[in-house]
């Protein structure tokens, strides 16, 4: 390292003095200083070469000493039994932060500009299916390609999203749009979660509405589900479903202090479903709400300690729809469920009613529905059975195409590996005023 010598200081002072002089007087002075500097620097280099050699020798000696010391310490450490740092008093300085330690021992979670915070998991499925409906053909179908992304933003905040690539046309209350074989991309979930405590969590964004059980237990992945698809009651909006499966808004959830009863609550407020009729646009109001009124949903459920895997609960959803050329319609959805889910056994039971009440008329349209599903694991095989029922009035103002549909499904799931499941399912669906539909599907669902 070089420090400014007396000569450099002299140059600086000289420059300051000459600042006021005329240019013609500066050049000779600078020339003289430069010559002096060069001569003096040459003398200094000769002296410095000798000094550097001495310094280098000293440094090499110092390195030798330090290496010897390190060897001595390592030998002492191996000879002595493992000793950990003594425990600090509880009131003393706090231990190292979680971020510091996790950097040593586990996957780092804190912001590091050189690394991404994202974690990604993929899900997909491919199905071979055929049915007895007119104009339907037996076909291989690419299912949803789901990229599930999470990020632990901080100790209290977490981000979660599902980006789904999906083929085929949309079906919104009987209105079909899009091409048969084209793929589209949907952001199915995009949620920022804040966890204050077990008693209060807040999520904002687009999430699955906490109506019943199935809608929040299963999302856009068939691999998680026992069957090849969701019950018709909980079918997605763009697949002909009748419920506002997705909501854009805010959701608070948490435990209710209740001891062994294990009570939980969910309270949601959001845009609700689009109520234009017929719907030709996205049924989930992602960006713009077609009215100021907001949808509300309240769910309560219990997970008692006494019966492991049991969950019972109910939910109440309320919205006000404003279809074009129709009076406003009050929408209420009441749902109840009792499920028993264990590793080797599941029994799901849900019942709900969708109630539409056009204002100004005494008429009310009730659409009841239920399903029951049971399965039992035998090694890698899981046979299952489901019966489902939905009965919408033929004059139902929001989804006139649904009508009555009911029937059983039988199937067998085979877990070919921990991440690949093969399912064979038969469905019989009785329809009002139409021939019943027999359908068979063979599906492979996987995660990657």
């Amino acid at each position: 390292m070089k420090f400014p010598g007396p000569l450099t200081i002299r140059v600086t002072c000289a420059l300051k003095l000459t600042g006021r002089m005329m240019v013609s007087r500066i050049f000779p002075l600078l020339l003289g200083i430069l010559v002096n500097t060069t001569i003096l620097r040459g003398q200094q280099l000769v002296d410095a070469t000798a000094a550097d050699k001495q310094t280098l020798q000293l440094l090499l000696q110092r390195i030798d000493q330090l290496e010897a010391r390190v060897k001595q310490l390592e030998a002492a450490k191996q000879a002595a039994p493992l000793s950990l740092p003594s425990a600090p008093a509880q009131t003393s300085a706090p231990p190292a932060s979680e971020a510091e330690l996790q950097a040593d021992n586990a996957v780092p979670e804190r912001m590091d500009s050189s690394k991404t915070l994202l974690r990604m998991r993929g899900f997909g499925d491919i199905t071979l299916h055929g049915d007895s409906q007119r104009h339907d053909t037996t076909a291989f179908s690419l299912g949803q390609l789901n990229l599930f992304i999470t990020s632990d933003i901080s100790e209290k905040f977490k981000f979660l999203s599902e980006i789904v690539f999906e083929g085929g046309p949309d079906n919104i209350f009987g209105e079909t749009r899009g091409e048969n074989n084209a793929f589209g991309v949907d952001v199915e979930r995009m949620v920022l979660q804040y966890s204050h405590s077990d008693y209060f969590r807040l999520a904002v964004g687009r999430y699955h509405t906490a109506i019943g059980y199935y809608n929040t237990a299963y999302h856009h992945s068939t691999w998680f589900q026992t069957t090849t698809g969701r019950p018709f009651l909980f079918q997605f909006e763009d697949r002909g479903g009748i419920l506002p499966v997705h909501t854009v808004g805010a959701s608070a959830s948490g435990l209710i202090p209740s001891g062994h009863l294990g009570l939980h609550y969910v309270a949601e407020v959001g845009n609700g479903r689009a109520s234009r009729s017929p719907i030709t646009d996205e049924p989930v109001q992602n960006v713009v709400d077609d009215q100021n009124h907001k949808a509300f949903n309240l769910a309560l459920f219990a997970r008692p300690d006494a019966v492991r895997g049991l969950q019972v609960g109910f939910s109440a959803y309320r919205d006000l729809l404003a279809p074009a050329n129709l009076p406003r319609i009050g929408e209420s959805i009441f749902a109840a469920h009792a499920v028993l889910v264990r590793s080797k056994f599941e029994w799901l039971n849900e019942v709900l009613v969708v109630r539409h009440a056009p204002s100004g008329t005494p008429r009310v349209f009730n659409t009841p529905g239920f399903y029951t599903q049971v399965s039992k694991q035998f090694g890698s095989y899981r046979p299952y059975f489901r019966y489902q029922y939905v009965n919408a009035p033929s004059t139902e103002p929001i989804f006139p195409d649904v009508g009555l549909r009911q029937g059983p499904s039988f199937g067998l799931r085979y877990d070919a590996s921990e991440t690949v499941a093969v399912k064979l399912q038969y469905d019989y669906t009785a329809l009002r005023g139409q021939p019943a539909v027999n359908a068979l599907a063979l599906q492979v669902g996987f995660t990657f």
Partner: protein, 179 residues
């Protein structure tokens, strides 16, 4: 007629379900009293010294190890520490606390993270020393160690009012293999 048919299906499913449930609810091996082999050690559930919790019931412990609880009473976030797959200590925790096998445990957390119910996945560490270091340094951490691996840097919790040195303690781990 259709309603009757529907009811019949529901009844049939209910009968099938009950039968399956009865079949499936055979006494769990973990709930039976197991004779403790002489060479077995107790497995202590350990937390950071600053953690005010002294005792947990087995259902509470299960909820914590399944990620269904994410915060301690003092507000700190729970950081679950698991040992690597195949370690006897991990097997004991899966069998006696979580009542699951390895696949079910992994699927449970995958599903929990997917639904958003589980806030953070467990950290996996290779050695008891690593677990001890982690728990010592992370105020919200909870892990497990053989009693012989305990020292004063971590706090062993009582489970159902019994400490790891007490008679009747429920978590036992087989001896380490000699290789």
């Amino acid at each position: 007629m259709r309603r009757r048919a529907g009811l019949q299906f529901i009844l049939a499913s209910a009968v099938f379900s009950i039968a399956a449930l009865c079949f499936g609810s055979a006494p769990n091996s973990s709930s039976l009293p197991k004779p403790q082999i002489a060479s077995e050690q107790n497995l202590a559930v350990v937390v950071n010294l600053s953690n005010p919790v002294q005792n947990l019931s087995m259902p509470e412990l299960r909820r914590i190890f399944l990620g269904e609880r994410s915060h301690w009473p003092n507000g700190r976030r729970i950081t679950l520490v698991m040992m690597e797959t195949g370690q006897p200590e991990r097997d004991v925790v899966l069998r006696d606390i979580c009542q699951m096998n390895e696949t079910d445990f992994n699927n449970h957390f995958l599903h929990g993270v997917f639904t958003g119910e589980v806030f953070v996945s467990p950290k996996t560490l290779a050695t008891p020393v690593g677990v001890r270091k982690f728990v010592f340094n992370v105020p919200g951490a909870i892990g497990y160690l053989r009693v012989s691996d305990l020292d004063s840097t971590v706090k062993a919790l009582r489970i159902d009012e019994r400490g790891p040195e007490d008679k009747g303690y429920r978590l036992h781990v087989p001896p380490r293999s000699s290789k």
